[in-house]
């Protein structure tokens, strides 16, 4: 008999149904992944199974069986005590954001011990010593000392380990992990997932992994459930789904996973558009004597009509480099030489929700660069906006809409149109596709590639995602702690990495080992 069985589950927020008839089964000791884009209902399904639907969400149909027992009425709020016994004791939850799920004003050890006390498993000194054990098992070195520290003294990866320790404290039979590593760097992600795998296997617990990353799901789980628009579209063996997806949506998803396709064709050596020489940025750190080098002696060139990717994890200095190139930060030393003036370089930023002024219409957003540089009159500007909308494959009828009325992918297209308005030579993309779902990400990358071919524009492409870098870039720089550890042609760096850090990064990409 399976441990968790969900049959025909319907969930609605208020009057709008978001999950329709979902069937899902997690066997004992099995690892099952639920994969889907944002809005697919994957998190909602998991939240419903543990009685944690936010706001006006409620189960409107179907059943949830745990170990053969129908717990649907309890989840619908009819038996709060049963649900409390369920959470932690039978089902543990590892939440997505390690930053906001720990109390910043309480010591780590106390927060883990509290979990034990709440479930009546231990109290006082016994709970405290058990908490240290749990932290140690979760892979926190020097656990006895670190248990006395506060969350701000822990890195993101370490905090996620603490949350895993808490989720496993009461030895639940099932662990639900909702995007447990999407806020973390790839190398840390791999460590955490390895650990999660070992811990659940040692306890014989089952794992329900919620993720947007199909490759990661296939790497880590036995079975994959693919969701789209609140429905399950495909269920099956992880390796089979990835290799021969049956449903059309899964096929698109598999095809869109970056890095599986070929790298871009090499281009002939062209003239330099951007030259960065020995760029250094130092910051004063409060309470410290020495200054922190965020960017340490970085040099590179971007050639006309090509893409140079800057790859690195958080804190590598890649974004600071981009900002210095854009002139948003002043370098401590070094030079940025651009072929042309300020208008020849335009940015596209990460957040499709934050990169457009919400009070302006699409037309006003796109023609802002034209206005700033007083290019043309009202009529010619309107004509240019129309052309740009055509180029980024957006309907001209969107010109009078505002950003709230657009989807994430449409917004990013508007940001690209805006960047192209002055026919720049260089577009600086700072994590420009990182916040997008994989299918939309693929479309935007294809758009960028097509525009490069048509317009001959160059990209400086900042990303944490090596697979994305591989699919868009000709040249690549790998950065770590402010320094460039490796640079070269994309194919050389990917197929024959020289630096150990590059190799570590590459091997941490989910789906690459398979």
């Amino acid at each position: 008999m399976s441990l968790l069985k969900i049959e025909g589950l319907d969930v609605a927020y208020g009057s709008s149904a978001v999950v329709h008839g979902v069937d899902l089964e997690v066997g004992r000791g099995r690892r099952v992944a639920v994969v889907g884009a944002s809005g697919s209902g994957k998190s909602t399904t998991a939240a419903a199974a543990i009685g944690l639907l936010p706001g006006r969400g409620r189960i409107t149909g179907g059943r949830v069986l745990l170990d053969g027992e129908d717990i649907t009425p309890a989840l619908q709020g009819k038996d709060e005590r049963r649900v409390r016994r369920l959470r932690g004791r039978q089902i543990g939850l590892v939440p997505q954001d390690p930053m906001s799920n720990l109390n910043p004003s309480a010591r780590i050890g106390r927060q883990v011990a509290e979990t034990l006390t709440v479930h009546g498993l231990a109290r006082g000194a016994a709970a405290r010593s058990r908490a240290v054990e749990l932290l140690e098992e979760a892979g926190i070195p020097d656990a006895a000392r670190r248990a006395k520290q506060y969350p701000h003294e822990f890195s993101g990866g370490m905090r996620q380990r603490v949350l895993i320790a808490m989720a496993l404290a009461a030895e639940p039979e099932l662990l639900i992990a909702d995007e447990p590593t999407s806020a973390l760097d790839v190398t840390v992600q791999r460590q955490i997932l390895d650990h999660l795998e070992r811990l659940t296997a040692a306890r014989g617990a089952s794992l329900l992994l919620i993720t947007h990353d199909l490759a990661l799901a296939a790497d880590r789980c036995d079975e994959v459930v693919v969701m789209s628009e609140g429905r399950v579209v495909e269920t099956g063996q992880a390796s089979r789904v990835l290799r021969e997806p049956a449903h059309e949506y899964t096929q698109k998803l598999v095809a869109a996973v970056p890095g599986f396709g070929a790298a871009r064709a090499e281009v002939a050596e062209t003239r330099e558009v951007l030259r960065v020489e020995n760029l250094v940025k130092e910051y004063r750190v409060r309470g410290r004597r020495e200054r922190m080098r965020a960017v340490d002696d970085v040099s590179f060139v971007v050639r006309a009509g090509t893409t140079t990717a800057v790859v690195g994890e958080s804190g590598s200095g890649k974004t600071t480099t981009a900002r210095m190139v854009l002139g948003l930060e002043t370098p401590t030393s070094g030079r940025v030489v651009l072929d042309g003036g300020r208008r020849d370089m335009q940015p596209v930023f990460q957040d499709p929700f934050g990169s457009l002024d919400p009070t302006k219409t699409v037309e006003r957003l796109i023609d802002e660069p034209l206005r700033v540089f007083s290019v043309g009159d009202g009529r010619s500007r309107r004509e240019r906006v129309g052309e740009l909308l055509d180029q980024v494959a957006l309907s001209r009828s969107l010109a009078q809409r505002r950003p709230v009325e657009l989807s994430g992918g449409q917004r990013q297209r508007v940001a690209i149109a805006r960047a192209l308005a002055l026919n720049p030579k260089l577009v600086v993309c700072d994590e420009a596709v990182s916040a997008l779902d994989v299918l939309v990400q693929r479309q935007v990358l294809q758009l960028l590639e097509r525009l490069q071919v048509e317009l001959g524009v160059s990209y400086l492409f900042i990303t944490h995602d090596l697979a994305v870098a591989r699919s868009i870039a000709h040249d690549v720089l790998v950065m770590r702690r402010g320094q460039v550890v490796e640079a070269g042609k994309i194919s050389d760096v990917f197929d024959n990495p020289q630096h150990p850090y590059t190799r570590e990064l590459l091997s941490a990409i989910p789906g690459r080992a398979a």
Binding site: A47, Q96, D357, P369, R402, E405
Partner: protein
């Protein structure tokens, strides 16, 4: 846990704010009260039964519901209803003038202080200075130099509330300065003034409006206080503060003469507060859903 994306909810932002407002019962009550108060103030000359200064020596201190005087009369036989209507008009006049002053002075200073670091210290010190300076002394000084009047009361009250406005606009500017669309504009080499005018100010307008609804009731009470002390509106022009001041001499004989203008002040303030709270929630629904 990622929030559910409800596709249908892509309506215009204005429609969303309005829907949100209409869902808030207290906010609707505040809005209705606000409309009534505004109507009373605007239409006072047409709906008041008498001139507010017209004395009826033959009928002083009439109880409410007396024939001809729905809310009674004061010690000089002036109709209380008419005086309250005109008093409300004066209160709102002072309120609007003072709020306008606080916005006109405070918003540009707040924008500048938030955007240019070097100005921040100067503006913040000036703000602290204004806050440390007792408002009543300012009002007395102004009344002494320029004479007590409605406009001088409004100026004193406006200046007293400038620091609040500066702080709100400065905080909003600091927040918006980091927005990616501001970075995009900066990388175009757009001037600071241009960025403030086209990107930061329009996005700060909701906060400014909400802050205005907070300042408004404070100013209405402030005006009543100044007039009560004889530093604001001068008799015989009616003001809710003057009515309170006059009524206190015979408060035991005619309590309603003090109660009714007091009630009017309360209704005005409550209307602004309730509506302002609802507006804040509607403009920033993230914090409460």
């Amino acid at each position: 846990m990622s929030a559910p994306v409800v596709e249908a909810d892509l309506g215009s932002s204005r429609g969303r704010v309005l829907r949100h407002l209409l869902h808030n019962k207290l906010g609707v009550a505040g809005g209705v009260a606000l409309l009534l108060v505004a109507a009373a103030a605007l239409l006072a000359p047409w709906i008041a039964p008498y001139s507010p200064t017209q004395v009826h020596f033959e009928t002083p201190l009439q109880q409410p519901r007396t024939v001809g005087f729905p809310l009674g009369t004061d010690d000089l036989g002036r109709d209380i209803l008419s005086r309250i209507l005109y008093g409300t008009r004066a209160s709102l006049q002072v309120g609007i003038l003072a709020v306008a002053l606080s916005i006109v002075v405070g918003a540009p200073l707040g924008l500048a202080a938030g955007y240019w670091r070097w100005l921040d210290g100067i503006v913040s010190r000036l703000t602290d200075l204004t806050l440390a300076f007792p408002f009543l002394i300012l009002a007395v000084g102004l009344a002494a130099i320029r004479g007590a009047s409605l406009s001088n009361a409004a100026i004193a009250l406006g200046i007293a509330h400038v620091p609040q406005m500066i702080r709100v606009v400065r905080a909003e500017t600091l927040r918006l300065k980091g927005a990616e669309y501001v970075l995009a504009a900066r990388s175009l080499d757009a001037s600071g003034v241009r960025i403030l005018a086209t990107h930061i100010l329009p996005n700060a307008v909701p906060s400014i409006i909400v802050q205005a609804t907070v300042i408004m009731p404070a100013v209405v009470i402030g005006e009543a206080l100044l007039s009560f002390l004889g530093l604001g509106i001068q008799p015989p022009t009616p003001s809710l503060g003057i009515m309170l001041s006059d009524a206190q001499q015979y408060i035991f004989r005619a309590p309603y003469a003090a109660l009714l203008p007091g009630l009017a002040i309360m209704v005005i303030c409550l209307a602004f507060n309730l509506f302002g709270d609802a507006l804040r929630d509607a403009l920033d629904p993230g914090g409460h859903r």
